[in-house]
Amino acid sequence: MFKIALRSLLNRRLTVALAIFTVALSVLLLVGVERLRSEARNSFANTVSGTDLIVGARTGSVQLLLYSVFRVGNATNNIGWDSYQKLSQDRRVAWTIPVSLGDSHHGFAVLGTTSDYFKYLRYSDNQPLQFSQGQAFSKTHDAVIGAHLASKMAYRLGQKIVLTHGSGEGAMSEHSDQPFTIVGILAPTGTPVDDTVHVSLDGLTAIHEGWESGSASLLSSSGVLAAAEDRALPPPSSITAFYVGLKSRTAIFSYQRAVNQYPDETLMAIMPGVALSELWQLMRIAEQALTVVSGFVLLIGLMGMLTALLTGLNERRREMAILRSVGARAWQIFALIMGETLLLVSLGIVMGMALLYSFLLICKPILREVYSLNIAIAAPSTTEWLLMGITLLAGFLIAALPAWRAYRMSLSDGLSPH
C-alpha cells in the first residue's frame, strides 16, 4: 500500500513538487519575518548593557536613545561641560562616559569620548570592549576604529585618516590639516561601535579650533595647530550626551529625578532598557502587520495545495476504485490521502526552513553591510517551532477535506469513468 502511494506521488511529481514549493515559500516568509523581528530586537538590546542611565538634552526618550547609542538622527541640543562635570561628580555615580557626536569619516560616525569608554562600556551580555590590535588613544590626534570600519576601508594601525566636519552626504569641509593616526582597532561587537571612529574629546576640540564660524578659518587650515601635539587644550564647551553607571541600581530613580530637575539646564536622563521597551511599543503595529501578511501568505499556500489535491482527486478516481477493488478499506483510503497531504506539508516545512537558512547564510553579509543588522544563524526558537507546528496543524485540517471526499467517493464510485 505504502509503495503504491509513493508510486502515485511520483506519477504526479510536477503537481506535488509545486505544492511542496508553495508551502515552502509560505513557511520561509512566516518564519523569516519572525526571525528578522527577534534578531533585530536582540541586536538592539545587545547594544546597551550595563549602562544605568543616559543623560542628554530634553527630548523624547526614544530619540535620545537613538541618537546617543544607535547614531540615528541628531541631537537637538548639547549638554554644557559644567553641567556634565557637576552631574558626574554626584556621590551616586560610579562612572560616566561622555559622548560627543557630529563629525564623520566617509559616512561613519566620529565619536569623541574619554578612555573611560573602553573601560566601562559593555555590550551584549556584559561584555567589555576588546582591542584586536593596538590600544586606546592617548594623544590628541589618535583614533581607535571599529572592526567593521577597519575591514571595509582596509585600514591598518599607523595609517592617517581625515575627519569630515558634520555628517551626511552634504558634509564637504574636511579637517584635512589635522589628520588622525589609527592607534587601535576594536574586536567586532555586532553593535554600532563597529562602525565608529573614536577620538578623544581633546581631538575634537583641536580640530574645531578656529571653526567657530562654521567653516575653516585661515588659522585652522594652516596645520599650525596640529603640529603641537602636547599643547594644553581647553575642555570642550559641550558634549552630546553621557552614559552613567551607578554604584547601586536602587539609586537609578533618585539620580534620574536629580537630572530631570537639574536647575541650570533642561536635561533628561533615560533608562536605556525602558526606552527600548518604548521603541518596541512603537514598532509593534508594523510587526503585527507583517505577521498578519505572512499568515495570509501561509493560508494562500495551503489553499493552493488544497486546490491541487482536490483537482488531483478527480483524476485519481480510477486509482481509488482499483485500490478498493483489490481490498483496500474505505478508512485506508482516508488515511492514504491524509498521510499524503501531511507528508507534503512536512516536506514543505523542511524545505522552507532549508531555504531560510540558505538565505540567511547568503544575506548575512548584506544585512550586516547595509542595515548593520547582525543575524546569528542559530537553531529555531520556541516561537519558530510553534509556527511550524501551526503550519502542520493547518495542513492536517486542510487534508481532512480531500481525504473525506476520497473516502466518500471510493464508496460510491464504480470502476466506470463518468
Binding site: 533585530a40 541586536s43 538590546a45 548593557s49 544605568d52 530634553r58 527630548t59 523624547g60 526618550s61 526614544v62 530619540q63 537613538l66 544607535f70 547614531r71 540615528v72 538622527g73 547601586s248 541600581r249 536602587t250 537609578i252 530613580f253 534620574q256 529625578r257 530631570n260 530637575q261 533628561m268 536622563a269 533615560i270 533608562m271 536605556p272 532598557g273 525602558v274 526606552a275 527600548l276 521597551s277 518604548e278 521603541l279 512603537l282 514598532m283 508594523a286 544585512l367 542595515y371 548593520s372 543588522l373
Partner: protein, 162 residues
C-alpha cells in the same frame, strides 16, 4: 534596520516625554522598581485623584477624613505592594509625599517603599488595584540584574520581576 527605525521615529515624533514631566493622566500612574541584591525599591508617582478622588485642598469633613485615611493607608506598604511570600520581604517605613494642593495645579502623590528580602522576589502582588479602584493602568519601569524594561499593567495584574 537603522533606516527603518529612523523612518518610524520620524513619523511618530516625541512620543515619550521626560520622566519628570510624565503626563498627568487620571487613572494612570507610574511605578519605578529597582532590585539590587536582596533589596527591593518601589516608588509610586500618581495623580492625587487616583487615591483621593479630588485634587484640591479638602473642603468638607468627609474629604478631610478621606485625606487622613489615605495618608495612613499609604504609610502601610501592604495596601499597595506585596512581594511574593517565598522571598520573605520586610518593608521599611515608607516615605510618603502628600500634595500641598497649590491653586490651579494638578496634584501628585509620590511615595517610596523599600523592602529587605531573604531572596530575590519573583513577583509583587499589587493590592492597590483592590484598595484604590481608581487606578486603571500602571506603567512600571523595571531595573533588575537581568536588565531594564517597561511593563504596562492592567487592573488585577501582578508585577512580574522575572
Amino acid at each position: 534596520m537603522k533606516k527603518l527605525i529612523a523612518l518610524v521615529c520620524i513619523t511618530i515624533p516625541l512620543v515619550s516625554q521626560a520622566h519628570e514631566h510624565a503626563a498627568h493622566v487620571h487613572g494612570a500612574a507610574e511605578i519605578d522598581v529597582a532590585i539590587e541584591g536582596k533589596k527591593l525599591l518601589i516608588t509610586l508617582e500618581s495623580p492625587a485623584d487616583n487615591l483621593l478622588g479630588f485634587e484640591r485642598a479638602p473642603k468638607t469633613e468627609a474629604e478631610k477624613a478621606k485625606l487622613k485615611a489615605v495618608t495612613e493607608q499609604l504609610n502601610q506598604a501592604a495596601t499597595l505592594f506585596v512581594p511574593d511570600a517565598a522571598a520573605q520581604c520586610k518593608a521599611a517605613t515608607p516615605v510618603v509625599n502628600m500634595p500641598s494642593f497649590k491653586k490651579g495645579e494638578h496634584s501628585d502623590i509620590d511615595a517610596e517603599y523599600s523592602f529587605d528580602c531573604q531572596s530575590v522576589p519573583s513577583s509583587v502582588a499589587l493590592s492597590l488595584w483592590k484598595n484604590f479602584p481608581n487606578f486603571k493602568k500602571l506603567n512600571a519601569n523595571l531595573a533588575t540584574a537581568k536588565g531594564q524594561k517597561q511593563l504596562s499593567l492592567k487592573p488585577g495584574q501582578d508585577l512580574s520581576l522575572k
